[in-house]
C-alpha cells in the first residue's frame, strides 16, 4: 500500500484509478438510445390506453385521468430515494465510485418526479377535495421528501471536495430514509384526505383491470425514463470529473512539497 502505489494526485478523482468508468461509459453510450426508445414507446402506449381506452371513473369523471401521470410520478419519487439510499450504501461499503455518482445524479431526477407528483396531486386535489393544498400527513410528508432531495443536492453543491461530499451525502441519505416508510404508510397511520394504496398492497391490487393496465404501463414508462435520464446524467458527471482533473493537473498547480534536511 505504502510505497508501491505512487501518491494519488487527488482522492476526489480516484474514480480514474479504476478502468471501470471508461467501460461503463462505453456500455452506457450503446444502451442509452435503446432505453430512450423503450421509454417513449411505453409512454405513448400508456397514455393512449389511459386517455382514450380506459373508462371514466363513475365518481370522478374525466379527472381520474390525472391518475396516469400522478401515481407513477409518486411511485418514482419514492423509488428514486430508495435507489439513492442503496447506491449510497453500496458506495460506502464497496467504495465503488460509480455508486456515488449514481446517487448524486439520481437526486435531481427524483426531485423532479416529486415535484411532478406534488403538482399533479394539487391539480387533482382542487376538483376532488376543493383545495390545492392541505396540511395532511401524506401531502406534507411528500413535501418533506422534496426538501430532502433539495437538501441532498445542496450538500453536494456546497462541498468542493467530491470524495467528502460523497461520504457526507451517503450518510445523510441513509439517515433520511426513515421518511420513506412514513410517506408510504402515512395514509394508514393517520386519517388522511388522500386515498389508501390500491395497487401496491399486501393483498393484491383492488383496482379494475381497465385502469390498472394503463397505470402499470405508465409505471414502466416512468421507470424506463428514469434509467434513461440516469445513464445520461452519469455520463455527464463522469465527463465533468475528467475535465476537472485535467484542469487541476495543469503544470504549476502541482506544487507538492517534500522534506529536505538542512
Amino acid at each position: 500500500m505504502t510505497s508501491v502505489v505512487p501518491p494519488a494526485p487527488s482522492r476526489s478523482n480516484s474514480i480514474y484509478q479504476m478502468a471501470n468508468p471508461e467501460r461503463f461509459d462505453r456500455l452506457a453510450q450503446g444502451v442509452i438510445p435503446w432505453i430512450g426508445g423503450i421509454a417513449a414507446l411505453l409512454a405513448v402506449t400508456g397514455l393512449y390506453l389511459g386517455l382514450f381506452v380506459s373508462p371514466e371513473d363513475y365518481q370522478q369523471g374525466a379527472t381520474v385521468r390525472i391518475m396516469y401521470v400522478h401515481v407513477p410520478a409518486a411511485w418514482m419519487a419514492l423509488f428514486c430515494y430508495t435507489t439513492m439510499t442503496i447506491s449510497s450504501v453500496a458506495g460506502f461499503v464497496w467504495k465503488h465510485p460509480l455508486a456515488d455518482v449514481a446517487a448524486k445524479v439520481t437526486a435531481p431526477i427524483g426531485a423532479t418526479f416529486t415535484l411532478l407528483a406534488l403538482i399533479t396531486g394539487s391539480l387533482w386535489g382542487k376538483p376532488m377535495w376543493g383545495t390545492w393544498w392541505a396540511w395532511d400527513a401524506r401531502l406534507t410528508s411528500v413535501l418533506v421528501l422534496f426538501f430532502m432531495y433539495l437538501g441532498y443536492i445542496a450538500l453536494w453543491q456546497a462541498i468542493d471536495d467530491k470524495a467528502r461530499a460523497a461520504r457526507l451525502g451517503a450518510i445523510v441519505c441513509v439517515a433520511g430514509f426513515v421518511n420513506i416508510p412514513i410517506i408510504k404508510f402515512s395514509v394508514d397511520w393517520w386519517n388522511s384526505l388522500h386515498q389508501p394504496a390500491s395497487v401496491i398492497r399486501a393483498d393484491g391490487p383492488s383496482m379494475p383491470g381497465s385502469m390498472l393496465t394503463p397505470l402499470l404501463v405508465m409505471g414502466l414508462a416512468y421507470s424506463a425514463l428514469y434509467v434513461w435520464l440516469l445513464l445520461i446524467a452519469m455520463r455527464g458527471e463522469i465527463a465533468d470529473r475528467r475535465l476537472e482533473r485535467l484542469t487541476k493537473d495543469e503544470p504549476g498547480n502541482a506544487k507538492v512539497s517534500g522534506l529536505r534536511k538542512l
Partner: protein
C-alpha cells in the same frame, strides 16, 4: 488514579511515557488536493524536529496530519511507546498539537480554561500549578480570555502542553506574537520536555535556537 491522588506532587506532570514516532512515505493535503508527499523520518524520545519553509508549503498541514486531525492520503504514521513496569495503561493518543489558533473560549476565564483542560486530559494533580508558574499566568487567572493581549493568549494556549502529559508535542509557530523573554522561556520549556524523554515537531519562521533539533525544510520537490 487512587495511587496518584495519594501522592500529590510526587508524580509531576512530566512523568510521560516516552514514545518514538516513525513516519513512512507520508502524503497528505487539504480539501482533496495533495500538499506534501514522500515524507519519512523517525523521531526518538528526546529528539526534536524543526520544520521551516515558505508560507503555504504545508507545515501546518503536515502537523495536523501527524496529530490525526487530517487523514493522510498515503503512507504510515507509527507510534512505539516505551512502556516500563510502572506504566501499564498506554493512552491511544501520543501527540498534542498547539496550532495557529489557541482554542480558547472567549467567555471563559484563564482559570476556567486551565481547569477544563485538567479534566479533559485527566491530568495529574499539580500540573495546573506548574503550567501557571511556567507561563506566568498567575496574574491573569481571573481574566476572560477575550480580554487577553495576543501574546497572553498564546501563553495560555501553550500552557496546555504542560497539562496534557503527552510525549510528542506538535507546535505550529509556537513563539509567534511572544516577546523575547517569553520566547526564551518557551524554548526552555521545550528543552525540559526533551530532557524528560519527550519529543517535539515544531514549525516556525523564527530563529528558534533549539540545540538538539534536527532542522528540515519543507519545499516543493
Amino acid at each position: 488514579m487512587t495511587a496518584r491522588s495519594m501522592t500529590p506532587g510526587i508524580l509531576s506532570s512530566n512523568s510521560i511515557i516516552p514514545c518514538a514516532m516513525t513516519v513512512d512515505q507520508l502524503a497528505g493535503g487539504r480539501a482533496g488536493t495533495l500538499v506534501f508527499a514522500g515524507i519519512s523520518f523517525t523521531l526518538a524520545p528526546g529528539e526534536a524536529i524543526v520544520l521551516r519553509g515558505a508560507n503555504g508549503c504545508g507545515k501546518s498541514t503536515l502537523l495536523r496530519t501527524l496529530a490525526g486531525l487530517l487523514r493522510p492520503f498515503d503512507g504510515q504514521i507509527n507510534f512505539s511507546p516505551q512502556t516500563t513496569e510502572g506504566n501499564l495503561e498506554i493512552p491511544a493518543q501520543m501527540t498534542v498539537l498547539v496550532g495557529h489558533t489557541n482554542g480558547l473560549k472567549a467567555t471563559m476565564t484563564v482559570r476556567e480554561s486551565i481547569n477544563y483542560w485538567m479534566r479533559l486530559y485527566e491530568a495529574a494533580e499539580g500540573a495546573d500549578k506548574q503550567a501557571i508558574d511556567r507561563l506566568r499566568l498567575g496574574d491573569l487567572l481571573s481574566r476572560r480570555t477575550s480580554t487577553l493581549s495576543a501574546g497572553q493568549k498564546r501563553r495560555l494556549g501553550l500552557s496546555r502542553l504542560l497539562i496534557c502529559n503527552r510525549p510528542i508535542w506538535l507546535m505550529d509557530e509556537p513563539t509567534s506574537s511572544l516577546d523575547t523573554a517569553t520566547s526564551t522561556m518557551v524554548l526552555d520549556m521545550m528543552d525540559t520536555h526533551l530532557d524528560a524523554g519527550g519529543a517535539i515537531v515544531a514549525a516556525t519562521h523564527e530563529p528558534l535556537e533549539l540545540a538538539r533539533a534536527e532542522k528540515f525544510v519543507l519545499e516543493a520537490a
